[in-house]
């Protein structure tokens, strides 16, 4: 492990990679700050840039953008009560009331310290957890992989919130269906191409990610007329002091410690992520508070701000565990990173830390630098960066559209991809209006090819029998968990349906269903 850490350290401290961390954190903070654009869109917008970099630098950049975007989202939550992404919705509960009391500076500082601690604690646990899990998973066979992918796909649906389970599963199946378009790698025959040469290679991952997230999110703001809303001007003079008193530090320290570990554990679960972690950490902290303190929640409680901020950053780090060790994304954002790794020709999973130790370790090590960058550079600069929030939407929206389109075009140089993006965006908007979550579709698409390969291999080895699912104890265990995760919410929904209970979900679940994180 020490060798690996040194390898990672050597790669991560290369000046170019350090530059990538800084750039990633800045770009992520800026994009995450823009209401409507979350970490998924931020990372998706970076993919075309990373294609020109080596794998380690590319993933380091994307990781920086990821936690930068989570951090940036909290800034707009605190300053203008407009969360940049779903995982910072809770931050606004107590962050914005603090800003209204002329304590925006303190709220921003606390958010930065909490994010830093959450991210760093997460990175420390990741340093030990990832290699341990990866060593165990080296013994995995194709049947185990297939079961793991089933678990990854079903877990997303399980965390979708009440009333959304079937919709999330349908979207997962849609993603798997899209993954079957193009040439079948095992037989070489073309599927669902309708004679079009442009579809022989299938639907590009980048195109799908850009169209369903970056482009759709921006178009949705236009559809809802949000581009006409004037953003609140950030008044620099009203930010107040950024210092926390000793009593305040004492008050929030246990909260930050608790929420960091808790957030990491939630982030590790496939399909969970920063959004769920932030809501649960806030709920946990509120439950732990005394009756008197409980009344402060929602009115500017420091603990109410520290808990979700620590948890969402720790969860972002935690979601790298299943990605790096099992090749299964823990969130929508890491699903995009999985796609990027596959595009590099790198197979994420147990072999990653054996075959590409530089990528595996440098990403983990770079997280320490990333969290430092967020704290040291972003904290003093945040009042200035937040001025970008006042760029008029009629200028900003066409620019984001332009970057989304050219990001795809400059990889393929095929204008058919742009027309395809338009078609997919129209479909995605309609699906969003029908409240179908997008993240499960992307996850299904990314895992589709891998799942088909492993199923094909497992079925061929077992001569067409599905007995491979129960012959190995490990496969049986994972498959059973997948089945349990799948069946429990479905049965709950049926049970509620026949008892005529409403499916309406509270605000927390609505935010979770946005699928960001």
């Amino acid at each position: 492990m020490l060798d690996g850490i040194f390898t990672g350290l050597t790669t991560a401290v290369m000046p170019f990679n350090l530059l990538m961390v800084v750039m990633g954190c800045f770009a992520g903070t800026f994009i995450g700050m823009l209401p409507g654009l979350g970490p998924i869109s931020a990372v998706a917008l970076m993919i075309p840039i990373t294609y020109g970099l080596d794998p380690a630098s590319g993933i380091i950049l994307m990781a920086g953008v990821y936690y930068g975007a989570v951090f940036g989202g909290s800034t707009s939550s605190i300053l203008i009560n407009a969360p940049g992404c779903a995982s910072t919705v809770v931050t606004a509960f107590d962050g914005y009331p603090l800003a209204q009391k002329n304590q925006a500076g303190k709220a921003l500082a606390l958010a930065a310290y909490s994010s830093f601690t959450g991210g760093t604690v997460g990175a420390i646990i990741l340093l030990f957890a990832a290699p341990a899990l990866a060593s165990v998973s080296l013994s995995f066979q194709s049947s185990d992989y297939f079961a793991l992918m089933l678990l990854g796909l079903t877990a997303v649906a399980a965390f979708s919130g009440k009333g959304q389970v079937i919709k999330a599963l349908i979207m997962t199946v849609l993603g798997l269906m899209i993954a079957t378009v193009g040439t079948d790698v095992t037989s070489g025959t073309t599927r669902f191409t309708f004679g079009s040469v442009d579809l022989i290679d299938g639907v590009s991952f980048l195109l799908l990610a850009m169209a369903t997230f970056a482009l759709t999110e921006v178009i949705m703001t236009v559809l809802k007329g949000q581009h006409r809303e004037e953003e609140a001007q950030v008044d620099m003079s009203r930010l107040g002091s950024m210092k926390l008193s000793r009593e305040e530090v004492k008050e929030v320290a246990p909260t930050i410690a608790r929420s960091s570990v808790f957030g990491f554990l939630i982030g590790v679960l496939p399909g969970a992520g920063a959004t769920i972690a932030s809501f649960l950490a806030y709920g946990l902290e509120r439950n732990l508070a005394s009756a008197k303190e409980k009344l402060k929640f929602g009115k500017g409680a420091l603990r109410g701000l520290a808990a979700p901020e620590s948890a969402n950053n720790a969860a972002s780090t935690g979601s790298f565990v299943p990605l790096l060790t099992l090749g299964i994304p823990g969130s929508g954002t890491t699903a995009i990173m999985l796609g990027a790794l596959i595009a590099y020709g790198i197979q994420p999973g147990p072999r990653l830390f054996v075959d590409n130790p530089d990528v595996f370790w440098s990403v983990i090590i770079s997280m320490y630098f990333g969290n430092l960058v967020l704290l040291i550079l972003n904290l003093p600069l945040i009042p200035y960066i937040s001025k970008l929030l006042v760029i008029p939407r009629p200028i900003l929206i066409p620019l984001i559209l332009f970057f989304s389109i050219t990001g795809v075009y400059l990889v393929s140089f095929n204008t058919f991809d742009i027309q395809m993006m338009v078609i997919i965006t129209v479909a995605a908007i309609f699906l969003k209006l029908l409240e179908f979550p997008m993240a499960p579709m992307l996850l299904g698409y990314i895992l589709g090819g891998l799942m088909e390969n492993n199923l094909s291999r497992a079925l061929t080895i077992s001569d067409g029998s599905f007995s491979f699912l129960w012959e190995r104890p490990l496969t049986l265990t994972i498959a059973s968990i997948a089945l349990l995760v799948l069946v429990t919410p479905l049965l709950q929904r049926l049970w509620q349906h026949y008892r005529h209970k409403p499916f309406s979900s509270p605000g927390a679940e609505a935010a979770v269903n946005e699928g960001e994180g």
Binding site: T180, Y409, V422, R493
Partner: protein
């Protein structure tokens, strides 16, 4: 009976699954693949079945609450259609007018559609931006951007 988003979604995916299943049956198989434990049709057929089951499941358990009905009022579909039309035109213009001109026109069109009317802002936010991006791509990143068929036909090359 109240038609809700769940009903519409379920029906759409039911139709999609049927269509997908139909075309899954059209996938050509190699000789002997019919008897292979796994062939190019296996996963698509399984997905068709799962898609049908889930669509029916959504239809059966669909919410009947009035609050869950699809409401299309209050949305600016006309502006979205214009913007997406602009994106599609940008796609075509890239081939014919080249990257620089197409970008300038796309940005001008985008700003205009979203309500920006000040000529100075329109020009400052499009021309220097497009020129900057073009320079970065061609000079810094050494990416070849074709000049556009119109210019090739007019001036040769």
């Amino acid at each position: 009976m109240q038609i809700t988003k769940d009903h519409i979604g379920g029906l759409i995916f039911l139709l999609l699954s049927f269509t997908y299943g139909y075309y899954a049956g059209q996938i050509p198989l190699l000789p002997g693949d019919d008897f292979a434990p796994f062939n190019a049709q296996t996963l698509p057929n399984a997905l068709t079945l799962i898609g049908l089951v889930l669509s029916v499941g959504l239809l059966v358990t669909a919410s009947r609450d009035k609050a869950d009905a699809l409401k299309l009022s209050g949305y600016d579909f006309s502006l979205v259609a214009k913007l997406l039309g602009l994106v599609a035109i940008f796609g075509c213009a890239l081939d014919w007018l080249g990257f620089f001109v197409a970008t300038v026109l796309f940005l001008l069109g985008g700003y205009w559609l979203l309500g920006e009317r000040r000529p100075k802002t329109l020009l400052v936010a499009s021309l220097p931006f497009a020129a900057g991006i073009w320079l970065i791509l061609t000079q810094l990143l050494d990416i070849y951007l074709a000049p556009g068929r119109v210019f090739s036909q007019l001036f040769g090359g």
